[in-house]
Structure formats: structure tokens, C-alpha cells
């Protein structure tokens, strides 16, 4: 490709700007909710309850609620896949084939943005969690970072999977249904097949946190592998010709 690569990035951002705006708004809404819950625990209705009940509720709710905005932020790169995939299901794919830009270049533009935005999401999430930890007097330790990294990796994988499915089915709606179906199936299988356990929520969170810590050293490799696999899959789907 001899043209400007920046123009391809511009195209992706322009097409995905609505999703980008709504994802950013969602992040701020989720953060505001966490702040409201915290305020309620300190000065609101929840603070009026018995101290022991409040502490118990806090231990039960906060580990999950604290990471909600992180999850929302990590879905920020989804705007690229959704915008591009939406275009691909229209007449654009036919026109794209008439241009001198290779399938690798189109995929590279997408994945450059996905890479940049997942890093941005990670930094914003880490900053947010650090502030919440400071307010709550919790430690911003290796385990917390490991959980943020694991969430970022999971959402990256979901974003890429969603893009591949949308390009494959050439419909955002069908891909969304297929993706939700696959997720629900996985969850049902887990519920029915997983061995019964008498672990408490605390113990489950601790186990999950431990698992995240275990995979933290490998996270750069996992991150690059997911990106590379998605990039190659997207390039192949861009290259795919009509029957």
C-alpha cells in the first residue's frame, strides 16, 4: 500500500466513533455507580445498618463491583471490530476488493487500533482501581494488577472473537446471537459439569485471584498470541473472495 496508513486508521475511528463514545460513557457511568455505592457504605443508607452487616456486605459486593468499570473499559477496542465488521456486511466489501490496498493493510489498521485501545483501557483501569484502593485503604498489589490484566485479556479475546464471527456471518445481529449462545452454552456446561464445592465467595475470589497471579508472567505472550491470531484471522477474512 502506497497511500497513507493514517487514513485507514481515521476510517476505523470515524466509523466506530459512536461505539467509542458509548463505551466511554458506560465506563464513566460504571465508575459513578461504584463511587455511589462507596458513598452509600460511608454516608448513605447502607451506613445506617449494623456495622457488622455493612462490613459483610462490603466484603461480598466490593471485589466484584470494584472491577465492573474495568470490564467496561476493556471492551473499548470492541468499537473497531464492530464498526469494521458492520461495514463488511454491506457493499463496502465489494468496493474494498477494487482498491489497491491489501487485506494485510486493512487488518493491520484494525489491529493497530485494537492494540492501542486495549493498552489505553488497561492504563485507565489500573489508574481507576489504584484510586479506589487508595480511598478504601486496600493494597494495590500484584494480585489486583493480575486481575486487571486477566480481565483485559478476556475482553480482548471476546472482542476479536466477535469481529471474526461478524465477518464470518456478515451480520452483526447473527454474530451477536451466535456469540451469546456460545457463551451461555459454556456457562451451562460449567454449571452442570463442574464438581460441587462448598467454598465460600471469599475462597472462590481468592482462588480466581491466585489463578490470575499465576498467569501474569505469561500475559505478554498470551496478549501477543491473541492479537496475532486475531490479526491473521481478520486478514484471511478480508482476503476471502465471494463464491
Amino acid at each position: 500500500m502506497k497511500g497513507s496508513f493514517k487514513a485507514l486508521l481515521y476510517r476505523d475511528i470515524f466509523l466506530g466513533r459512536k461505539q467509542l463514545k458509548s463505551a466511554t460513557t458506560m465506563f464513566f457511568v460504571a465508575t459513578a455507580l461504584v463511587v455511589l455505592i462507596l458513598l452509600s457504605f460511608r454516608h448513605g443508607n447502607l451506613a445506617l445498618l449494623d456495622k457488622e452487616i455493612v462490613e459483610g456486605a462490603k466484603i461480598m459486593i466490593m471485589p466484584v463491583v470494584k472491577f465492573m468499570p474495568v470490564l467496561v473499559a476493556c471492551f473499548l477496542p470492541n468499537f473497531v471490530s464492530e464498526a469494521v465488521a458492520r461495514e463488511e456486511s454491506g457493499l463496502w466489501s465489494k468496493f474494498r476488493r477494487s482498491t489497491p490496498v491489501s487485506h494485510w493493510c486493512f487488518a493491520l489498521a484494525d489491529y493497530t487500533l485494537i492494540f492501542v485501545f486495549i493498552l489505553l483501557a488497561f492504563l485507565v483501569s489500573a489508574g481507576y482501581v489504584a484510586i479506589i484502593c487508595k480511598i478504601e485503604g486496600d493494597a494495590f498489589d500484584k494480585r489486583t494488577i493480575a486481575i486487571i490484566v486477566a480481565l483485559a485479556l478476556c475482553s480482548l479475546a471476546f472482542c476479536i472473537l466477535m469481529q471474526i464471527m461478524t465477518m464470518l456471518f456478515k451480520s452483526v445481529e447473527i454474530a451477536g446471537l451466535a456469540f451469546t449462545g456460545a457463551m451461555m452454552l459454556a456457562m451451562f456446561l460449567y454449571v452442570f459439569l463442574a464438581p460441587e464445592t462448598d467454598m465460600t465467595n471469599d475462597e472462590i475470589f481468592a482462588k480466581l485471584g491466585g489463578f490470575c497471579e499465576d498467569i501474569l508472567p505469561f500475559s505478554p505472550v498470551i496478549f501477543i498470541s491473541i492479537l496475532l491470531a486475531g490479526f491473521c484471522a481478520a486478514a484471511m477474512l478480508y482476503k476471502r473472495r465471494e463464491k
Binding site: F95, R97, S98, P100, V101
Partner: protein
């Protein structure tokens, strides 16, 4: 081979593409450099399939395609830097404005000429900051053409691009094409079923029907050679079946399409042979299986 060293902008040889229920059957034709070829056929005849094969959008089952003397797959990206495709529907997202499209196109084509693009926009009276989704069909088509003409393309491939446009807009577009063809390096392949447009502008014509090329050649030769014998049903009985393409029977007599007007004049002296149009030629060829129709 150098990009300038070619005789035909497009050379299609024995192109075959098989679908369930339709086959593009061994088609061959050339588009000479500096000319405009009308690619005519009814809906479903195989025009779009041919264009898709040309642009490497579909896999073919046989044959070869050369553009500017180069293989269309081996030299795909070099070729595509020099061609522009215009489709019947605008392929860009409705949220783009003409101005924003220019930014995108600068990333697609190395030779994108923004100045020329804005000149075309002004000439066509297209607003720069209005969303494409708010454009009329004619405006959308003009915008596509402005994009196509602003990156120094040597070949325009148009797929039913004038379909659904009013005659005024169509004439404007034909004028632009005439201007474009003043540079003898430029060529156009224009698929359409509106034969009157092609009659005005095309240098050569290719008729396709049911995936087969029925006739290909210079438009003037085709119009010169073909003719319609208008005769009574009694006279028609004297015309040999091998001498005509097909015959249209009506209450007043018979119209018989012949492919060799001079030969027919000599053989059937006394019968009135009139000039014909591309539309009539297409109609009579499409019905050539039946031979006699009404």
C-alpha cells in the same frame, strides 16, 4: 511488461464461472485502450459476474484475464492502483461526508488528487459537508464518479452505474466520460441494460445473455451490419431460417433481424431492410432460441 505498453485495457479469454443454475460460459472479449465498451445484457445475464471476476472479487473456474497487459491476479495491486470501480449503489457508509471521504481515499490510492476531487465536487454541485445518506441517488452516483476520476485511474469499470438515474443526470455523466476519454490512455467498461446511453457513447459493444457472449465488436460495425426486414407473413415464409437471428411476429406483419444487411439485401431484393438500434439487436438476440416470437 510496462504499464504503458499494452493494446487492450482488458483482455478476457475463455472466462468460465460455474454457479448452481448459472454458468458464465467461456466468454472472451477485449476492451481496446482509449475506448469505451458497452457491456450489454438483461438482468442476470452475467454482467456483474464478469465484473466481479475482473476485480478478483470471485474465484473463476477457468480462463484468463489481463488488464493493461498484466495478469489480474499476479499483478492485482499494481492493476488496482490504475482502475476505478463504480457500482449501482454507493458503497460508502452514509455517515461520511464528501470531505471526509477524501481523507479516506488518500489512504487507499497513492495518486489521490484532492484538488481535482474538490474541483469535481464543485462542478457537480455536491456539498462537501453534507452526509452521504442525505444525498439523492444522482448525487451519490456523481460522488462515486468524482472519487473514481480523482486518483488518475486509467480504466473505469462501471457496473450498472447509470441505472435508476434521470436522463438529465445520465447525460451529464456521459459528458464527463467523453471528457475522460479525451486522454487516449483512458478506457471505460460500462455495463448497462440502458442501451440508449451506450448508443451515444460506446465505441464497441459486447452482448451477453445467459452467460454467453452473443456478439462483440465495434458499435458502428454492429449497427451497420445488422438490419430489420419489415415484411408480410407471406414474404417471411421465403426467408431462410439460417439467414436471420430471430423474427418478431405481430398483427401487421413480421420484423426479421439479420446479421448481414448487405447479404440480405442482395438475396431478398424487394424487401425493405431498415436500420436498427442496439436495443432491438439485444432483443432479437435474446429471443434467438425461439427464432419466432411475438
Amino acid at each position: 511488461m510496462m504499464m504503458n505498453d499494452y493494446e487492450n485495457a482488458i483482455e478476457i479469454s475463455n472466462l468460465t464461472k460455474k454457479y448452481d443454475g448459472f454458468t458464465l460460459d467461456n466468454i472472451s472479449f477485449n476492451v481496446p485502450k482509449g475506448s469505451i465498451m458497452g457491456f450489454i445484457g438483461q438482468n442476470g445475464a452475467g454482467k456483474t459476474t464478469t465484473i466481479k471476476a475482473l476485480l478478483n472479487i470471485i474465484k473463476t473456474d477457468g480462463g484468463s484475464i489481463k488488464m493493461f497487459g498484466l495478469d489480474h491476479i499476479e499483478n492485482e495491486f499494481e492493476i488496482k492502483q490504475n482502475i476505478a470501480a463504480v457500482f449501482d449503489e454507493i458503497p460508502f457508509h452514509g455517515d461520511f461526508t464528501a470531505k471526509r471521504l477524501s481523507i479516506m481515499f488518500s489512504g487507499l490510492y497513492a495518486n489521490w488528487d484532492e484538488q481535482r476531487y474538490f474541483t469535481y465536487l464543485d462542478r457537480f454541485g455536491l456539498p462537501r459537508k453534507k452526509k452521504i445518506s442525505k444525498f439523492s441517488k444522482g448525487m451519490k452516483m456523481k460522488l462515486q464518479i468524482a472519487c473514481a476520476l480523482s486518483h488518475g485511474a486509467k480504466l473505469l469499470v462501471m457496473d450498472e452505474a447509470t441505472t435508476g438515474l434521470d436522463p438529465v443526470v445520465r447525460n451529464e455523466i456521459l459528458d464527463i466520460f467523453r471528457e475522460y476519454l479525451q486522454d487516449e490512455e483512458n478506457s471505460i467498461l460500462m455495463s448497462s441494460h440502458i442501451t440508449s446511453d451506450l448508443e451515444k457513447i460506446a465505441d464497441s459493444v459486447t452482448f451477453i445473455d445467459k452467460g454467453k457472449i452473443l456478439i462483440t465488436g465495434y458499435k458502428d460495425d454492429i449497427l451497420e451490419n445488422h438490419g430489420v426486414i419489415k415484411c408480410t407473413k407471406a414474404d417471411f415464409k421465403n426467408i431462410e431460417k439460417d439467414d436471420f437471428i430471430s423474427a418478431r411476429l405481430n398483427d401487421f406483419g413480421v420484423e426479421v433481424m439479420v446479421a448481414n444487411k448487405n447479404k440480405a439485401k442482395r438475396k431478398y431484393q424487394g424487401l425493405n431492410i431498415e436500420k436498427t438500434t442496439l436495443e432491438e439487436i439485444m432483443l432479437f438476440y435474446v429471443n434467438s432460441d425461439k427464432k419466432e416470437w411475438s
